[in-house]
Amino acid sequence: MSDQPSKSGLIASGALHGGLLAFIVLGFAPAPKFDDASESVPVTTVTQTQFNEIMNGEKDAQPVKEPPPQPTHAAAAPPPPPSPPMPPTPPPEVKAAEATPPPPPETPPPPPPRPAPPEAAPPPKPLADDAPPTPSPPPKPAEAPPAPPIKPVAEAKPSPPVRPKTPPPDKPERFKPDQVAKLLEKAKPDEEKPQKAYDLSAIAKLIGQSLSKPSAEPTSAAAPAQGLPTQHAARMSPSLSAALDAWLTDAYLSCWTPPPTMPDGDRYVAQVRVSFNPDGTLSGQPALLNPPSDPAWRPHAESAVRAVLKCNPLRVPPQYLPYFEQWRTKTVHFDPQSALG
């Protein structure tokens, strides 16, 4: 009597499991096909001791002796457009401060020389304002009377930066990342077209450097082949690749000072996109991929970006230099988990 349900259960179970297996097998079927002319992938078979030796080698690695020929790379791979600045829209007050030219002329324009008028204004009734909270006549020995409370008068809205009527004389030598970014932005569409409209000299002019004979220079023999990611670039063996990641982890750990404690709630792990030049310098501002929704985690996010900047330039050990394509961009995850032990 009780056989029926069990049997049917067994059948149902078998059918379901069969279905699951079929799903798993078939589900993997439409995996992308390999290219016909696939390049060979280097594979190393190493013993545990060999692997340890590799790791040891990382730690004692000599700093880069000779930087690879940069111009070549620069020509081959135009610098990626600078990643968007961390806070997408800088607060207005900051903007204001930005707007002001560097050290403004000693004689600023007529407008209120020392702004922050609305904030600074309150003082009319200062004493009354400040007195009540902590009166505090000192006990017997009258040393220094307990401090009357101090109220932040105002959020010192970064004083409406004196806006110069006429912009001060240009300082051509000053590097202006915004403009470069804009130009690169403009140049982007052209980039899509077959290299024709790609005007290196324009960018070079903007950057303020002279890129003589950009692409004509041949790749030096010592320099590794650095083809496009999909083509025949040198590939690291899995163990070397793991060692590189371990080295990067150590490097960023030594540059990172996370805030002392973690806010309550779900843990936030900042992800920072980092782009390098072949010599280990940053090729653009690090980009925070996942700004925290909870402002309490903001200092953590900022500490991650600070770590990337502090580690710039990275002294990439020579053994990784030939494989630039594989570390040209990295996403670094900064996990505060073990900060508290």
């Binding site: 069990s6 200062p126 000192p138 220094a144 101090i150 004083s159 805030p259 404690t261 985690w297 961009t329």
Partner: protein
């Protein structure tokens, strides 16, 4: 009938066995499938976690403070004093470190304009603080701007106005705002500490209650020293202090209002009362009352003077301290044979021992954050200051030697002060350390000093 019932039972039992075997077989198959599925799932996860180009950094034990350049404040000469207080604050903040002004790449002439970020980066300044001060008519007005060199943007700014006499407090407020913005933690510079000031020879030591700014400035004496006053405790919510006062007859727990100087004895008990501590709302105090060879914990409502007994037994229960939410009390007791730390409900009842390391544990203090309990551990003639979680786990010793005692938390729960008495003819000094043990330094006091109790942020 009986046989038939037996037979039925047998059949049922054999049926049971069959069905059990079948069930077991099905379960085994299920488990096998589950394992297979789990393995496939794990492989999938691992593959996705090892996404190419991703590097995973977990915060480690290494620690480097964040660098900040405190540029001279523009304005009159009060700016120089204010800047000095600021630099001193940061130098003792452990998590921030002020840069040496000799390395500054530029003179800030206009603090309202963005500094030359690239130049500051070259000297490894992660933040730059600019500001201006003006004083007139007995008032001081100060404003600051904090610049993050990573983004080149201003990340904080504020203006304060107050009496000229409070210039140091303005500096502490600026330091707090800066510390908070960079670390995400609450500030702690604008706070005060009560302690026992000790002068005179070892045999004839004069002990006075005193209060100072947390950086050791503005020391003010609260008692004359004719009568002994010890173990002061700052209220966590008001400018009020409780201490043990050796006035007439038995020593009594006494309350002192720092603002108007009023004193009152806490409760009317027949024996000696000691080890007072305020509740988080400042409305009650909890303390020990000696009863014969034992001591028990009592609470007293400050307004109504009604008292409630919390513990009993033949042990000595002392050093009580409320959890920040007021629901629990941690205290030390020798009820188990040696001094150990226990936690119980704030209304009394059974207590749970939480200290199980080697040695004797005493003077427990609950962090204002609620996450840690600090203590003194005595072991092999050494006195260590340490912290543990409220359940007793995660114990770590922050400093150890002869003779450390009496930890007290900063209002943000990130730092501890305690006193260290090296013995001999010299006396105790107050030290400050962070709860992770990254750093430690002495807090300057005019003479020897002990029994610090850190008060709340000023209002």
């Amino acid at each position: 009938m009986r046989r038939r019932r037996l037979a039925v039972c047998e059949r049922e039992s054999s049926n049971n066995i069959n069905s059990k075997q079948r069930d077991r077989a099905v379960m085994m198959i299920d488990k096998a499938f589950l394992r297979l599925a789990a393995a496939l799932f794990a492989v999938g996860l691992a593959t996705s976690a090892q996404a190419a180009g991703d590097v995973y950094v977990h915060a480690g034990a290494n620690f480097t403070p964040v660098t900040i350049a405190v540029t001279p404040f523009a304005g009159d000469e009060t700016g120089t004093k204010l800047g000095a207080v600021l630099v001193n604050d940061f130098a003792h903040s452990i998590f921030l470190t002020p840069l040496n002004p000799t390395s500054f790449p530029e003179n800030i002439t206009n603090p309202d304009v963005r500094p030359n970020i690239d130049a500051w980066k070259t000297v490894n300044a992660q933040f730059v603080l600019t500001g201006r001060v003006s004083s007139a008519g007995g008032r001081i007005s100060a404003q600051f701007r904090l610049w993050d060199t990573a983004t080149g943007e201003q990340v904080a700014g504020q203006q304060y106005t107050t009496d000229l006499a409070n210039g140091r407090r303005v500096a502490h407020l600026i330091a707090d705002a800066t510390f908070s913005r960079i670390t995400g933690e609450k500030g702690f510079f604008d706070s005060r500490v009560v302690f026992v000031d000790e002068t005179g020879s070892k045999e004839k030591r004069r002990k006075r209650l005193a209060v100072m700014d947390m950086d050791g400035a503005n020391v003010r004496y609260l008692t004359t020293g004719e009568k002994l006053a010890v173990t002061p405790q700052f209220s966590p919510s008001a400018q009020q202090v409780a201490f043990m006062w050796f006035g007439e007859a038995d020593p009594k727990v006494t309350l002192l209002n720092l603002e108007n100087g009023q004193r009152q004895v806490a409760g009317n008990f027949p024996g000696m009362t000691f080890a007072p501590r305020f509740s988080p709302d400042g409305q009650r105090i909890v303390m020990s009352l000696s009863e014969g060879s034992a001591a028990h914990l009592y609470t007293m409502d400050i307004a109504s003077h009604t008292t409630t007994r919390l513990t009993d037994g033949s042990g000595i229960d002392t050093s009580p301290c409320y959890s920040p939410d007021g629901s629990q009390i941690v205290f030390e007791s020798d009820r188990g044979g040696t001094q150990q730390i226990y936690v119980m409900s704030a209304s009394g009842g059974p207590a749970t021992r939480i200290s199980f390391g080697d040695g004797r544990y005493s003077t427990p203090v609950w962090s204002p954050r609620g996450d840690l309990i600090a203590f003194t551990r005595q072991k092999d003639g050494q006195f260590g200051i340490g912290v543990m979680k409220p359940d007793g786990s995660g114990e770590r010793i922050i400093t150890e030697g002869y003779h450390n005692e009496g930890p007290t938390f900063s209002p943000n729960g990130l730092f501890l002060m305690f006193f260290r008495d090296p013995g001999g003819e010299s006396g105790a000094k107050i030290y400050m350390a962070d709860i992770f043990g990254h750093g430690e330094f002495v807090v300057p006091t005019p003479d020897y000093a002990s029994d610090p109790s850190w008060g709340p942020l000023m209002k």
